[in-house]
Symmetry: C2
Subunit: 144 residues, 2 copies
């Protein structure tokens, strides 16, 4: 599995914005978040843009611009974030259609499709059990 870090990075950004707002600030800039995540501000803006399309954050432009949460962290789950930033399915079918004249080539895709759908459903259920509030709590609970 070629894993990617999009879900991790999105959770990082949301936790950062949430904590920053609790400290009394209105908005957080992509520059600040990028510094915390040790990456480029454009990477953060792209990712937050996807979260904005999903209704999880809002952005303001102009002077004093930046990002803020559109909802409470407690009402956002990792499933919401996952759906916002992960496009495809967990497991893929063959890149080229198998030989439809072969019994196995013909039946393998429906068979695996059934298995994969069940697994993705379970994954979604697990992701939905964790709110960003839970994540932030765990972040702050890390021993120093």
């Amino acid at each position: 599995m070629s894993a990617n870090s999009r879900l991790t990075l999105a959770a990082h950004a949301l936790a950062w914005i949430g904590l920053y707002q609790r400290q009394g600030h209105e908005v957080a800039t992509s520059e600040q978040i990028a510094t915390s995540a040790n990456t480029n501000p454009v990477v953060i803006r792209r990712l937050l843009g996807e979260l904005r399309r999903a209704g999880l954050v809002e952005s303001r432009r102009g002077v004093g611009a930046g990002w803020s949460l559109a909802r409470e962290l407690g009402s956002m789950t990792l499933l919401d974030v996952y759906e916002a930033v992960e496009p495809g399915p967990l497991f893929a079918m063959h890149r080229t259609t198998p030989d439809q004249g072969c019994v196995v080539g013909y039946g393998i895709q429906p068979a695996m499709q059934g298995v994969y759908e069940g697994i993705e459903e379970t994954l979604r259920h697990e992701l939905a059990r964790v709110t960003l509030e839970n994540v932030l709590r765990d972040v702050l609970a890390a021993p120093r």
Copy 2:
């Protein structure tokens, strides 16, 4: 999630070998399996090589060479296959270490690690519930 087709292809190969052996043949060649999967024999050999290292199949060289199952399909689960062909974790951490001087940068990785471990455990449990015998049965049950 950049999904890959390695698990699908490995299940295809195992189901093909299993069915072929039930039809009375001793071994299957990478050429035959590649034709069914519509890919290159080397791709199949590489993948089956990983399954051999995991003790799921055996290979013979020389004339009349090919691949055979090392165990019954009923005693092989998708988890065995998954572990044999998928190296990394499902979700990755940041590519570069976050700012350890930031509270969120410091605590985010342990927090997400905990979440991800639970999810991977659930995934493994789901994969372990499906045997290759189940897969072959579903393959043969596909309506024509």
